[in-house]
Symmetry: C2
DNA sequence: CCGTAATACCTCGTAATCGATGTATTGTTC
DNA sequence: GAACAATACATCGATTACGAGGTATTACGG
């Protein structure tokens, strides 16, 4: 998720680590903050893997900046990760939102539609959080107001997203 | 999140690891699967911390089972974690849903309402995923259909949850 | 001129997680 | 009767993440 965000932001423009951190914080930080001690090692990993390069520039205000740029391999890697997301990128909302935030970079309508279809298939599977043996329990069947709320919220989310997915897939298919 | 789920399920009834795993998979597995190699060490951690005890019973079908029971300290710990969730339990949907799934165990309406109020306050903060400098961007301002969808979905979810939270807090306050 | 905040980067130890793999038993299917 | 799935638990190494702490500079208010 973090690596995807790094690649995604750098696809648009070279950035230094500190700026990258602010953008990632704006994107996902209110939900799941990213520690600096996670970001900088992640940058190093990607650099070591040849996905990005760095150039040192004098800092605008303080210490010198390490401006990060995607290599051609890095650009390919982002497109690959967007075109073939891991299953958890599809099912986990946090990760899925990160995929959505950068999916435009895929720049290939059928491939984009394919990714949306995977999410659609996932949301269309009948799934609950609570079961009576095999049978999924409906919100109305639960005494617990909190679990009932959980199902209610999940269903509302799902309905909104399904509508958007169907609409967007249709428009990509044109 | 995993530890909370373990404590939460065991609060109701003693279970062996394998059964625990099935319940956790039903609860959160379609979104974020839990590997066995994560669950068993987590059980050991909690056991070592004195939160749960184990008793070996002959297996119903195969190998002997380790039936896990919450100790009194484990029961206190669950209530404590539910009454004072970490900030990420409030903001991260996956973790928040786990809190909701077990919040009834808190068994104290004002404390439950307090937890819901924290989530309410979080959702009421104006937050976007995309910014123009300081100013949060609205869905309508984005060209990118995927980012627009992301905001649309997030807003729909948020609206549904806000309604439920306000309603439930009101009924807990009676 | 002193403290604080912001900019900008980094390391270290610890903890958590995962995938792969291993062990042993019972029940079911070909 | 030989596979195979399901039950039931466990370890190990590699990866990832986090909190705490560190370094250095500029800008600003008191």
């Amino acid at each position: 998720m973090l690596e995807l965000a790094i690649l995604g932001f750098l696809y648009d423009a070279p950035l230094h680590g500190y700026e990258l951190r602010k953008r990632i914080t704006a994107l996902t930080g209110h939900v799941k903050p990213v520690a600096e001690s996670t970001l900088y090692p992640a940058i190093k990993r990607l650099e070591k893997a040849g996905l990005l390069g760095r150039a040192t520039e004098p800092g605008a205000v303080a210490a010198p900046r390490h401006v990060l740029t995607l290599t051609e391999e890095g650009r390919r890697e982002l497109r690959r990760r967007l075109a073939e997301p891991a299953q958890q990128d599809i099912t986990d909302e946090n990760r899925w939102f990160t995929v959505l935030a950068f999916l435009r970079h895929l720049d290939d309508a059928p491939a984009q539609a394919g990714v949306l279809r995977r999410r659609l298939a996932f949301l269309e599977e009948p799934a609950s959080f609570f079961y009576d043996g095999e049978r999924p329990l409906r919100a109305e069947e639960l005494d617990d107001p909190f679990r009932r709320g959980l199902l209610t919220i999940a269903r509302a989310t799902s309905r909104a997203e399904l509508a958007w997915l169907r609409e967007t897939i249709a428009s990509l298919d044109d």
